[in-house]
């Protein structure tokens, strides 16, 4: 019974790793490949390590396995974000059928800073409102409190 559970868990982990490998080969775009491989491979290796911990059923080995799983869970998103960000700067092309690119024109390619146009619009609008309220306060003070 115990061996059967271990075999099922390790088979699930291997299946996820195989799916990640097929995904990295078949996906049309670098960013889609990153999004496929990071999650599936981390889950697969975590399941294999959990099955191995159940087989040995020892505290010291379980601690090591938990340390490896925690480290993978911490570092996989950070690595994926770093490599995706730097490859966006380098100019890796997106898939032809990609519907939208949210970052288009918002990243400064030389200084690597994110400039948000929506935020600027909000800022400008708030400035305009301030000016208008100041003008109105010059004209008539008692209506200002009601408007706000």
């Amino acid at each position: 019974m115990n061996e059967l559970a271990i075999m099922i868990i390790i088979s699930l982990g291997t299946l996820f790793i195989l799916l990640a490998a097929v995904g990295i080969l078949r996906m049309p775009d670098l960013f889609l490949r990153i999004s496929v491989t990071t999650k599936a491979a981390t889950l697969g290796v975590g399941l294999i390590l959990i099955g191995m911990t159940l087989y040995f059923s020892d505290v010291s080995i379980g601690t090591r396995a938990v340390a490896i799983i925690l480290f993978l869970l911490l570092t996989a998103p950070i690595g994926a974000h770093l490599i995706g960000r730097s490859s966006y700067f380098v100019g890796v092309p997106l898939w032809k059928k990609s519907l939208m690119d949210d970052l288009e024109g918002k990243y400064d390619r030389k200084s690597h800073e994110l400039r948000s146009e929506d935020l600027e619009e909000i800022f400008d609008n708030s400035l305009l409102k301030k000016e208008t309220t100041e003008n109105k306060s010059n004209d008539s003070k008692p209506t200002e409190g009601k408007e706000n």
């Binding site: 061996e3 390790i10 291997t14 990640a20 490998a21 080969l25 730097s86 380098v90 890796v92």
Partner: protein, 91 residues
């Protein structure tokens, strides 16, 4: 079917096939970033192979090597992305 036979004849070949598929992407990857993530995934599969082999050989001390592998994979990805960003485009 004991767990050793199952791991030896089903799990390890499946992991090897997935490693081979990732290695194809490692060879044909159009850009350098594709190769970097393929290398990362190869090391992750290597951690899985080490864990399965620790069960087969009944030697849990192989797990230390798996831990070092996880460290090296993260450091490699960070270093590659750093130098990819610093590199000039016309080189």
């Amino acid at each position: 079917m004991t767990i050793y036979e199952f791991l030896t004849y089903i799990i390890l070949p499946t992991l090897s096939v997935s490693g081979l598929l990732v290695f194809i992407r490692f060879l044909i990857g159009p850009t350098l970033s594709d190769r970097v993530i393929a290398l990362d995934l190869l090391i992750t599969i290597g951690i899985g192979v080490i864990a399965v082999y620790a069960v087969i050989a009944n030697r849990p001390s192989f797990l230390d090597i798996a831990m070092i592998f996880a460290l090296i994979a993260f450091l490699g990805t960070v270093a590659f992305s750093y130098y990819l960003e610093k590199r000039k485009k016309d080189e």
